[in-house]
């Protein structure tokens, strides 16, 4: 028995030792710390991340198909207007929040000193606001009403703002951003303008003009909101983008960051330059930009665009039988290292030409029109067009106030291949005249005028989406119109 008690005693001691280490039971040291991540963001790295991905907005296939820059060569569904539900949500949690995070880190007293190691707090905030405005702009032009004022604040149940609120908000943001830039330390991570604040200011003023002009259907007159904003931006001392050197351009390094148009034909050949575009260029008496806008798969010059909006049974054999049809862009312009111009001097100059023609401003329509077209040619490395070109009946301007068709057509061409701008400009002006896809599967067969909200919107944000949809006359459909598209 004594031996047994002895054994039990040893055992009891063991248990006591174990129990006394109870505090140690809770302690796991750094076991749960991820060794390959930090909890302190580097704002310059966030900025580089946003800029590295921002070219996706200026190379959207869906919009370029709607405005007939491209045709589909083998699986025509978007260009035959198959139902297109999508959601802009990913951009909110992605790039937009990265920008918001830059603003937060440069604003919060606890982090702003660290953030300032990457450049002046104010300037980082200013750049982030401009880029936010750009992303919101291309989103709202697709869907219309979207979360804006209360978005990016951590609250998932955000009401949708009207497009009017969004536009006025963006324009106010740009105005304020320009005003608050300072001469502080140079910005790091700016792979677009290398920290050149003067150029960022010009970009902000240019975007403000382009946004204001987009509201020309809802605010047509020279005394309305749109014209007022346009004039104010034009009058800003920092100026706007007037030469291609000031374009908001990304020069891709290639390798793991390639120009998005390179990817278009990397293993697929789903798209071609549309016949709409080649016909239009021909109707201007020939346009040297065709040598840039498209060439054959083999790299030969061609003016054979791909018929637009035709069913697979037609278009697939057509492409087989017409190997000289045009790919989007000549190969030299879609190399892995090709630059991608997102906001361009040509667009800004032509916007000013239109504003002048509308009587919003007192600038010279003709002079801006000419320099806008020249800038577009120069942007592609082409010589300025000849007087013959400017004399063509479809190019030459008429009496003041009657030139929307010519100017809008040149705007359309200047935006190529940036579909979101081309499609929006067409929706706003109606020029050039586009016919719906002959084999469209929608009913009625009309060119879509907006994106429908996505399944995830209905799934995650049902109440807010329902309220937004209730405001759309015609409902959440592709042929309903956004606010500025009256």
């Amino acid at each position: 028995m004594k031996k047994t008690f002895h054994k039990i005693g040893v055992l009891a001691l063991g248990i006591v030792l174990l129990a006394s280490s109870c505090n140690k039971l809770k302690d796991f040291g750094t076991t749960n710390v991820d060794p390959s991540a930090t909890n302190k963001p580097i704002t310059s790295a966030l900025l580089t991340n946003v800029l590295s991905a921002i070219g996706a907005f200026a190379s959207s296939n869906t919009s370029s198909l709607y405005c007939q820059f491209y045709s589909e060569t083998q699986y025509p569904d978007i260009s035959c207007y198959a139902i297109n539900t999508a959601t802009p949500m990913a951009n909110y949690s992605g790039l937009l929040y990265d920008l918001q995070n830059i603003i937060i880190n440069n604003t919060d007293d606890a982090t702003k000193a660290t953030a300032a190691l990457n450049g002046s707090n104010n300037n980082q905030i200013g750049i982030a606001r401009i880029l936010k405005a750009y992303i919101f702009w291309v989103q709202t032009d697709r869907w219309g009403d979207l979360p804006y004022t209360k978005a990016l604040a951590g609250d998932p149940n955000v009401d949708f703002d009207t497009q009017e609120t969004i536009y006025k908000g963006m324009i106010a943001e740009l105005t304020d951003a320009v005003a608050k830039f300072d001469n502080g330390a140079a910005i790091l991570g700016d792979i677009a303008y290398s920290g050149n604040i003067a150029q960022w200011k010009k970009l902000a003023n240019s975007m403000r003009m382009l946004m204001a002009l987009r509201l020309s259907k809802v605010y047509p007159t020279a005394s309305d909101y749109a014209a007022t904003q346009f004039k104010a931006a034009l009058a800003d001392g920092a100026g706007s983008i007037a030469t291609n050197a000031d374009n908001f351009t990304l020069v891709y390094p290639g390798g793991n960051f390639k120009n998005p148009y390179y990817n278009m034909y990397d293993g697929r050949k789903d798209y071609g330059e549309s016949e709409t575009m080649t016909t239009l260029l021909t109707s201007l008496g020939g346009d040297a930009r065709q040598s840039v806008f498209g060439e054959t798969a083999g790299g030969a010059a061609s003016t054979k665009g791909v018929p637009y909006g035709r069913a697979r049974t037609f278009i697939d054999p057509w492409c087989g039988a017409n190997p000289d049809y045009c790919y989007v862009f000549a190969a030299a312009y879609r190399q892995t290292t090709s630059p991608l111009a997102i906001v361009r001097a040509a667009s800004v100059l032509l916007a000013r030409a239109e504003a002048a023609d509308k009587g919003w401003t007192t600038e010279s329509t003709l002079s801006l029109y000419t320099s806008g077209i020249n800038a577009s040619f120069e942007q592609w490395g082409l010589a300025d067009p000849t007087p013959t070109y400017f004399a063509n009946a479809n190019v030459v301007l008429g009496a003041a106030g009657t030139n929307l068709k010519q100017i809008a057509t040149q705007q359309y061409l200047a935006y190529y291949p940036d579909g979101i701008q081309g499609w929006s400009n067409w929706r706003r002006t109606g020029f050039p005249t586009l016919l719906p896809a002959p084999d469209g599967t929608n009913n009625p067969k009309v060119i879509p005028r907006r994106f429908m909200y996505g399944t995830t919107d209905y799934s995650l944000n049902a109440t807010a989406v329902a309220a937004a949809v209730a405001r759309i006359s015609g409902g959440d459909k592709m042929d309903s119109r956004v606010w500025w598209d009256k």
């Binding site: 580097i42 990913a90 604040a153 951590g154 790091l188 050949k269 697979r312 399944t455 799934s459 995650l460």
Partner: protein
């Protein structure tokens, strides 16, 4: 040693045969104590020797025994083994009793090796023995369990995907993902999945259905556990210290069984007419003979081509030079079996040998096994070698040292991609030409053009031929020759898994023992992928969906190691009428995981040089390091009063490294009671009657590095020297805790008529609350998800098991076992404030294609997406003015969970030595979405895209000619009945273009004959072989021989690849095999 020499003799090696001196003869008769009939074939052995015989047809035996023989051992299957002392008489009359305790002999094993007789169990306790599990020799425990345990749903996988073991659901499902999965425990070691369990080593499997049974395992066992106990060296009666050898050798042949129902009327391409070919001077000279002949469209990968009526045409391969087919035509005839013919006949060789020996102080069992599989997909294979060692040794009085070592090494070749656009079923069922002759495809797999382009059935049309650049014509447009692709893409991998334990057990006093166990489960793996640049050269658009086709090399290595240090005190004592068993223990756990991978990006610089540094762009490197720990302490006890009234209780506390440090302690608990009333009632017809009830609650932890979250990594690539960072998308609640899973159950176990009829019924009710889940939130917040304690799932159901022995005759017995699990409810009650629904699985992300969601107030796992809009009053479909259905993008198609699952096992014993097993399992309810059906219909492959309309005309004929598909419904605006005929192709493509998918959502209901076997136990004694062998069993068997019922038979609903459906499913497979098992 003698056994081993006998084995050598048997195997044809030299050996010695020892002859004993025999000095006297005993005779006797063996009969049944039930009815007095004599029993032939009974084994009569002298205890402690191998001397023995079996009884003849009249139950008589005659045996010469040594003078010193003292005891005879009389044994027979289904009867109690009886020992007879050899005394004066030389003739014995021996009565054998039927083995009545058969059902009670099984022992339920729970965590930490704690065993318990099921008589006192308070929660449903199901044990499946080796003979039931391996009647048909399976290589995977999940397959072996299907239908045999109530409360299980087995989601199998096609046998074409080597190494995939499927997934088991116990009592419905939970969590806010696509499913929880169960825990697999082998001799106390937790395995990460059900791979690497040698089924020949398995003694039995205990199934713990939920927290009320598995609380001792803590959080890990919250979803239930499959507890596997392996065989150990056992001292057979009269056989102490002898070596037992078991050889098991089997062969299985597998063929494709279930493929979709294809149309066999129309050929490939998008042109319903053949096109006339006119020879041009720039065309290759060997095409001259084709001048004036007709060809179909090759470049389109759909089957909206010409009707196949045996007309002359130019097949795809005629355009390639250098074969006997070059420049020839063929007859355009249907190839109804082409998809099926692609696959090989698979083979599986399954061999194992086990040696075991046991004495009073020592036991050991060593097993070696090999499984060699040649896959159904060409070039695929799997080879698994297993080693098992289980031993224990009493090194001193009361002190036992035991060790378990298992080693598995598996080599696999093959990619087994069954996703969208995979180069087998991804083509056959979605984008394909129905006229392709697979025999010629196989024959021409190495055919290349002089430029090195591999020939493809999906090359371009001859109008695109350019003599200066032949690739656009000869290369595959979207697809390769399927065999070529298999040859040019290789994915070898290797996994080495080592697991087991070492333990000391010390019997402190009679009623108390202590055990210390060190346990380890370690995996080392590597995998490679090699894609030839020939794929890039042989395809025009094939790199778009699969960038690896540019040329690709991947190399990845992983190391993981899980270690436990466990202590266990066990106490067992009887106090008067009370019997108490109690345990207390601790479990300290740590795991580490290291993973590195390197892969080329965007092709190679040098063709076919498989090196990471040969990457065209900067290679992608991944580097993962994870560590996790927990510490646990637990106590459990059960007490029985007079062996009819039982109580048990379990408490376990865990501290987890992954939980917030201030709050990282969680407690699991369970208790229950049971009452065996039959012992009190003593009714003659009631053999056993028990009611029981149990309750359990198990909190769970959260994943590694989840808390505190919001950590910024650095992106893999830099932009000209500027590094990139992305803001994390998940918010983490600082007070994050584990979910709490609770289950209660009440049940009854009844057996009647001398155990001939047995019924077990359990009602269970469970909840999962405060589920910590990364709830998708509207990204408008700036984040994609919020990790928080939220959510409530309630579920309940009934588990039933019925066992009947309808016939127990001398020469024929029938054992019938049926299980049924009724899932009454498995409802998502709450997700989070303001969140009604979120998406958990997406098969196709566009055009409102159904996704899997969890929705408040609905059954777990809804399919949600575009459906046909119906009139709210009449329920009729609404049509637009062109006769098209209208999409309702927020349609619920139902839950992915079946409502009723189970199986039926029949065992027939004929003439005592023949055993026939017929194992059926079934499932009712539940839905899945078929992407293959959608694209297969879109591209004119499925049977429904052919045939006649109600006018008797082909639906593919133009509507103006009386063709088209008849559609009726209500006009969406006027609500008046309307009728239309829609062009066949438009009708087939409308669902995707317009967003309604009702017809592609299918039922998971099935009834399936999963296993069939006929076994024969050779009468080795009668054959005079008993000196060599103690038993030989041969069997022939079939796996998946017959899908008895499925609502539609395009896919085997028991093998759907993803929780919500399939995107390019492999075919169902049927196998037949033979096996021989020899015991020495």
């Amino acid at each position: 040693m003698r056994k081993i020499s006998l084995l050598l003799v048997f195997l044809g090696f030299l050996g010695l045969q020892v002859v004993f001196a025999q000095t006297r003869t005993v005779t006797g008769t063996v009969s049944s104590s039930d009815d007095g009939t004599s029993i032939p074939g009974v084994s009569v052995v002298v205890k402690g020797s191998t001397l023995g015989t079996i009884t003849d047809m009249d139950g008589k035996f005659n045996l010469k025994v040594p003078q010193n023989a003292k005891v005879l051992v009389i044994s027979f299957v289904g009867m109690k083994t009886t020992e007879v002392a050899l005394g004066g008489p030389s003739n014995y009359s021996i009565k054998l009793e039927t083995e009545k305790t058969e059902l009670q002999e099984v022992v339920v094993t729970s965590g930490y090796g704690i065993k318990r007789a099921p008589k006192g169990s308070t929660a449903l306790s199901q044990v499946v023995n080796n003979d039931k599990l391996t009647a048909v020799r399976q290589t995977n425990v999940n397959n072996a369990l299907a239908g045999k345990v109530s409360g299980i749903q087995f989601q199998g996988q096609s046998a074409a995907a080597l190494g995939r073991t499927g997934n088991i659901r116990l009592r419905g499902d939970g969590g806010f993902s696509t499913g929880n999965g169960v825990l697999y425990v082998v001799d106390g070691t937790i395995l990460p999945n059900s791979n690497d369990i040698n089924m020949d080593d398995v003694e039995d499997v205990s199934v713990l259905s939920g927290p009320s049974a598995s609380a001792i395992l803590g959080a890990q066992g919250a979803n239930g556990a499959i507890i596997i106990t392996t065989k150990k060296g056992k001292a057979a009666s009269g056989n102490n210290g002898k070596v037992n050898i078991e050889l098991n050798s089997g062969l299985l042949a597998s063929k494709v069984y279930i493929v979709p129902n294809y149309q066999n009327d129309y050929a490939g391409g998008n042109n319903s007419q053949l096109t006339r070919y006119t020879y041009k001077s720039t065309d290759p000279v060997e095409w001259k003979t084709l001048d004036g002949k007709y060809y179909p469209n090759y470049s389109d990968d759909s089957s909206w081509g010409p009707r196949m009526v045996g007309q002359e045409y130019i097949p795809w391969y005629s355009w390639y030079a250098g074969t006997k087919y070059t420049g020839t035509t063929a007859k355009l005839v249907p190839q109804p079996n082409n998809a099926r013919d692609f696959f090989n006949t698979g083979s599986t060789y399954n061999n194992s040998v086990a040696f075991s020996k046991a004495t009073d102080d020592f036991n050991i069992r060593i097993s070696l096994g090999n499984i060699a599989v040649k896959g159904l997909l060409p070039t695929t294979s799997l080879n698994k070698t297993t080693f098992g060692l289980k031993t224990s040794y009493k090194i001193a009085k009361g002190l036992t040292l035991a060790a378990n070592v298992n080693f598995f090494t598996t080599q696999t070749n093959g990619d087994f991609n069954d996703g969208y656009s995979n180069q087998s079923t991804g083509s056959f069922n979605q984008w394909f030409h129905r006229d392709l002759d697979m025999g010629i495809m196989r024959e021409l797999q190495n055919l290349r053009t002089p430029d090195g382009i591999y020939a493809s059935w999906n090359h371009n049309d001859p109008t695109s031929y350019d003599p200066k650049n032949t690739k656009p014509f000869y290369a595959g447009n979207y697809w390769y020759n399927f065999y070529t692709y298999q040859n040019l893409s290789k994915s070898p991998s290797n996994t080495d898994r080592l697991f087991g334990d070492v333990s000391f057990n010390y019997q402190i006093i009679d009623c108390l023992s202590a055990k210390i166990t060190y346990r380890r489960q370690q995996n080392v793996g590597w995998s490679e992928q090699k894609f030839s640049t020939d794929l890039n050269d042989s395809g025009t658009q094939t790199t778009g969906n699969e960038p690896r086709n540019k040329g690709y090399y991947y190399s990845g290595e992983t190391y993981s190691n899980r270690e436990n240090l466990e202590s266990l005190l066990s106490f067992s004592k009887t106090f008067g009428s009370f019997k108490v068993n109690a345990n207390a223990g601790t479990d300290f756990f740590q795991s580490i995981y290291k993973g590195n991978s390197e892969q080329t990006v965007n092709g190679f610089n040098i063709k076919n040089l498989y090196s990471v540094f040969n990457s065209k762009d900067q290679p992608l490197i991944t580097n993962t390091r994870q560590a996790e720990k927990y510490k646990a302490a637990f106590v459990r006890a059960d007490a029985g009063y007079k062996d009819f009234l039982f109580l048990d209780v379990t408490l376990r506390n865990d501290w987890f490294s992954t939980l917030p440090p201030a709050n990282n302690s969680i407690m699991s608990k369970s208790f229950g009671g049971s009452f065996v009333f039959s012992d009190l009632l003593k009714l003659p017809w009631l053999s056993f009657g028990k009611i029981r009830g149990a309750w359990g609650e198990v909190p769970t932890p959260i994943g590694v590095f989840t808390y505190p979250g919001f950590a910024y990594g650095v992106n893999a690539y830099q932009w000209n020297g500027s590094f990139l960072m992305t803001t994390p998308d998940q918010l983490v609640d600082p007070n994050i805790r584990g979910a709490v899973k609770t289950q209660k159950e009440i049940g009854a176990e009844l057996r009647f008529f001398n155990n001939k009829v047995g019924l077990t019924a359990t009602y269970w009710d469970g909840s999962e609350k405060d589920i910590p889940y990364s709830v998708s939130i509207s990204n408008y917040s700036g984040f994609t998800s919020k990790y928080l304690n939220t959510g409530l799932i309630n579920k309940n159901g009934v588990d039933l098991a019925l066992n009947i022995k309808p016939i127990t005759m001398k020469n024929f017995t029938w054992d019938f076992n049926a299980t049924a699990a009724i899932l009454l409810k498995n409802q998502v009650e709450k997700i989070a404030d303001g969140i009604n629904q979120f998406v958990v699985q997406t098969i196709w992300s566009r055009n409102s294609v159904p996704v899997m969601v969890h929705t408040v107030g609905k059954e777990w796992g809804q399919l949600f997406g575009g459906g046909i809009k119906k009139d709210s009053i009449t329920g009729l479909p609404l049509l637009d003015s062109k006769g098209n259905y209208i999409s309702k993008p927020d349609t619920y198609f139902g839950s992915v969970l079946p409502k009723l699952t189970g199986g039926v096992q029949n065992t027939f014993t004929v003439l005592k030595d023949f055993t026939v097993m017929v194992n059926i399992d079934y499932q009712f309810g539940g839905k899945f979405f078929s992407l293959s059906d959608m694209w297969g219909t879109y591209s004119g492959l499925t049977a429904k895209t052919s045939g006649l309309n109600d006018k008797g005309n082909p639906i593919r004929d133009a509507v103006v000619n009386g063709g088209g598909v008849h559609v009726s419904g209500l006009d969406a605006t006027t609500k008046k009945p309307v009728d239309y005929y829609i062009e066949g192709a438009t009708w087939a493509q409308n669902p995707y273009n317009l967003g309604y998918y009702d017809e592609f959502v299918h039922s998971l209901t099935y009834i399936k004959l999963r296993e069939l076997s006929i076994g024969y136990k050779l009468p080795v004694a009668k054959m005079g072989w008993s000196n060599f062998v103690s038993g030989i069993n041969v069997s022939i068997f079939a796996q998946n021989p017959w899908l008895i019922y499925a609502k539609d038979r395009d896919f085997d609903p028991s093998e759907i690849s993803a929780a919500s459906g399939e995107a390019g499913q492999f075919p169902g497979v049927r196998s037949v095999g033979a096996n021989i098992k020899i015991n020495f």
